[in-house]
Amino acid sequence: MMELAPEDAARADFYALLARLWHSGPDAALLGAIAGANEIVAEGGQAGLAEAWRELKAAAAATSAESARAEYEQLLVGAGKAAVTPYASHYLVETGRERVLVALRDDLTELGLKRDQASFEPEDHFAALCEVMRHLIAAGSSDAALQRQKKFFTRYMHHAYNPLTDQVMASTKTSFYGYVARFTKAFCDTEAASLDML
């Protein structure tokens, strides 16, 4: 394992959590872990992420695994078209989704990644993109590694996360996942700003 700076280890954990929550509804153990987790401590006026985390913790404490799972299925897994689609390429272009998927598959191949044969999800599912970021971050904190993360985030996540999380927050079917979306948005805002500094 390459050297991993503490802030990058933390980012990998954030992405692991986001990948899990966007993949499917949380189980009771995960809800309990979120509810019981420590607060995020922010400095100065930069409280967006800390506040979003505090609200997610409160929502996790007040939600059962059954209702969170039902909410996920209603919101993000629909017949034909879900209330909100979790596929990033939907938000990237009006048409030509296939081209984005092809480019993504090429990039993943170059990174040595491939979709699990057992998974029926296309590669641009938001959970899968979070999982790729976690994988890229785990490769170390070298300049080259950070540039790979920046490229991937900019290309596939940056223009998708706002409309995705906005739609989830605006949906009338949402309660727990509204807080998941808010936290996701706050974290991706942080990612966009911090990767932009490189």
């Binding site: 280890a9 954990d13 692991a16 995020i40 897994v77 029926f120 296309p122 942080t190 990767l195």
Partner: protein, 65 residues
């Protein structure tokens, strides 16, 4: 030099917003193993009401254009 000052700027920013130290998230991330098997195994408990579960979801994926 340029690179290292950019990197420290980024690090300071991440720490300021609270994304730089993983104490809060690390324990939670450890619980994030996907629950695919669990959800597939549960589908029998759900009575007669129509429910989307893993096998139905897979079917819809195959019909997506």
């Amino acid at each position: 030099m340029e690179n290292s000052s950019k990197k420290s700027g980024r690090r300071n920013f991440l720490i300021a917003v609270g994304a730089g130290s993983g104490a809060a998230i690390a324990a939670v991330a450890a619980k994030t193993v996907p629950q695919k098997e669990a959800s597939a195994a549960k589908k029998d408990e759900q009575g007669s009401g129509y429910q989307l579960s893993e096998h139905v979801r897979k079917y819809y994926r195959t019909t997506l254009v």
